[in-house]
Symmetry: C2
Subunit: 456 residues, 2 copies
């Protein structure tokens, strides 16, 4: 890339924005998303030393040399995302600002006050405010290392603007009832305040589920990218709906998800194996909140949950440890083990130079001791062992000594044997893609068993 000073790039971007403000908002959104990706990609290597100097750094323990990398780099992606989405406000609403349907000749600022969709702008602003709050709280968490219980409280606080504006915009709080129950419950059921609790919990769920399936290079951003792209595909399928409200919901979601995909892709470039930077909790919060916001305001939160199948499975699989039926160590990440191979293996990563070419570093499941496990815990582990879902070690009497920790990452290693960090990350991302394919299948084929065909 030729050396253009940052100021020059900023002006080019500004010029592009002015030019794009004349075009179709969705096209413009696509273009400025690409610009946002380029900025993210460009800025991260420039600022990472500043982060390390400020103490925002961590050791990459899965590499032989334990390199020190900048942490919380998700904040750069998130900040550029915020600037992009804010600059997009006038582009999004320009069609209502330049003319009125009645009087095209004499359009003055006053003349569009009757047709301007202030409620839509309010929704968009509340989405940005919630996202901004979450990013800020995520960064505070990275800096201050807040206690674990805050991780549940913070997304709830950050979703207050969203819920408040949803409320004052007389948001819909009813859900469609499946055919089978309509005789008892009617066609739709007004959940009232429960719906707000549900939305608040969406935010908590989305942020934490991404935060839990994490720990190796590129896996947080990778899974978020897959979910983001799946959301965009789903929106694109429905954005031409005959129902203008439905169409707008999905257009709205696209406006928020396209820049997200862009900045995440750029961040993924620096965070994938071998990672140059870490993304921090900030990114997990940012990604989770973006999904919660588009799901809630786009009115497709149930479909969104389908895209979280791998995270839900990870949660269910973790339950015996989360509920302390089986001891749960603080860190459950797979561990790195050196394997001496008789021949040179292509598994071994080229970027990671080592004197002895015959030694490969592979990941193995980490383990937890079962001495303090409850009786129910042991029964669950034995059942899982029979199903091949956990690897156990027994003593000479056949009693269980320890088992692999119950996370999806460890499960992959149990099923497919030791592998490099790079390959493990790709397994997770592939599984996420598989999950999205399943989600689309369920949404398209199974949903009609309970509801009208929404695509007609």
């Amino acid at each position: 890339m030729p050396r253009i000073p940052v100021g020059g790039k900023a002006f080019t971007t500004l010029g592009l924005l002015v030019y794009l403000s004349q075009s179709n908002p969705l096209t413009a959104c696509f273009c400025i998303s690409i610009v946002a990706a380029l900025w993210t990609w460009h800025i991260i290597p420039l600022v990472k030393d500043m982060f390390i100097k400020a103490g925002l750094s961590g050791k990459d323990m899965n590499k032989p040399s334990h390199p020190v990398l900048a942490e919380s780099m998700g904040i750069i992606a998130a900040t550029i995302y915020m600037v992009t989405t804010i600059l997009f406000i006038p582009i999004q609403f320009q069609q209502w600002m330049t003319s009125t349907p009645n009087d095209d000749q004499h359009s003055t600022p006053i003349s569009w006050s009757h047709t301007f969709p202030y409620n839509k702008m309010g929704q968009y602003l509340s989405a940005l405010l919630s996202l901004q709050s979450m990013i800020f709280l995520g960064f505070a968490d990275d800096v201050l290392n807040l206690r674990w219980r805050f991780k549940l409280v913070l997304p709830t606080i950050a979703s207050i603007p969203l819920l408040t504006v949803y409320y004052v915009s007389h948001g819909v709080t009813f859900v469609m009832v499946p055919f089978q129950f309509r005789d008892f419950l009617g066609q739709s059921l007004d959940l009232g305040v429960i719906y707000y609790v549900y939305m608040g919990m969406m935010a908590v769920f989305c942020t934490n589920s991404i935060n839990i399936l994490a720990g190796i290079n590129g896996v947080e951003v990778g899974q978020s990218l897959v979910i983001g792209i799946s959301v965009a595909i789903y929106n694109l399928m429905r954005v031409n709906s005959d129902n203008p409200d439905t169409a707008y919901c999905h257009l709205f979601s696209l406006y928020l998800i396209l820049p997200f995909i862009a900045v995440s892709a750029a961040l993924f470039h620096w965070n994938r194996f071998p990672a140059k930077v870490f993304v921090g909790d900030t990114y997990c919060y940012f990604a989770g909140m973006t999904f919660a916001v588009v799901g809630i305001l786009g009115h497709f939160s149930k479909t969104l949950l389908l895209l979280f199948i791998p995270q839900i499975l990870n949660f269910i699989y973790s339950c015996p440890q989360l509920f302390r039926l089986v001891p749960c160590p603080r860190h459950r990440l797979p561990s790195v083990v050196k394997f001496t191979s008789s021949k040179k293996t292509d598994e071994y990563d080229k970027d990671d130079k080592k004197p002895n070419k015959n030694v490969v570093e592979l990941m193995e499941p980490s383990r937890t001791r079962l001495a303090d496990a409850t009786h129910i815990g042991l029964v669950i582990i034995k059942t899982m062992d029979r199903l091949g879902l956990v690897s156990v070690k027994r003593n000479n009497n056949g009693d269980l000594i320890d088992c692999s920790n119950l996370t999806l990452l460890n499960l992959f290693l149990v099923r497919f044997g030791p592998m490099t960090e790079r390959r493990l990350a790709w397994y997770v991302i592939s599984f996420q893609i598989f999950g999205s394919v399943c989600a689309f299948f369920i949404r398209h084929n199974l949903a009609t068993l309970f509801y009208e065909d929404i695509y007609k």
Copy 2:
């Protein structure tokens, strides 16, 4: 205060909010501001160790023992401010949500969609978004120690939401022309894009001017409190205006400034001499942006500038150093000098125990050497010396060797002699109060020479 668990306090607060949602919005705003102050006052001592542990700390160099204090504590005040203002959204708009003017009996959520002031909500949300952006950027500055030029760029970025929403809400961009020029310019002048540049500069000015007049215990928060209270008084004087637009502008400003005064007062309690915590750049950015937002959206930015008289004088007084006509050292804070007093002095602070009661620590102006000063710089310093605005030292030939640094804090010490840090802070705050009194005098008495009587 009796020991109530935090959860209990949170629920009490929530109950109060629900209760207040039924009352007049301004009364409710006043009440939740008091709750916000209590929370700020309560939380700061609880979290300060967490900040020190995270490396957000600084030494208080003006104290004999150089105690280490938590930095950036403005973030707590700012976060509580944000939560308060967000929770205030439904209270502020409840009058439009419960009934419609036409049909009081059958009010449903759908019925108020025609009368609900979505544009007002948009303005309020954009104000919060700009404030949130500024707080976030300020905190990032505290953590990452951004370079000086960022201090000019960050407020501009943070004001983007405000300007964008001002634009899409077809904001007014004309100014009233004084009587004397109306023959040439007409009654009002549309400044167009210049008005947006002016608003962006307001944000830069407000944030930086508070940041510059800083450095001794309590002075940042103290001056902001005075400006905040002055703004509130001005708003209260005009909130009953016959013009409903004017009245709403000032009501809007009150909704934002009352919680600000509340959290600032609580922060001042911990930051005043002898400081228990530092407020950080975060607070200066937060305070400055709050003023810029209420000035811009409340349409009284010119009056607001009058409240910044001490900051403007400080800037003008600093100009010879800022423009490098006179050498400008990196730190220009007054220095602490030990004075041995023959008698016990009541100037000496009781909280700061020292073995020798006869030694007092007083502040003296810090000095800059004039060897590298430009010719114009020397002329300015000589003139100032004659006016008694600077203290200079000369060698035996009468040539200037050095002079006191050109800041308001040093000027007070030059004029009134060495004094304790506590007294110096009160001098600055008193000067700020004096400035506000002058501002009100100018606004009420001199403005009618150029404009119609706005109070009629």
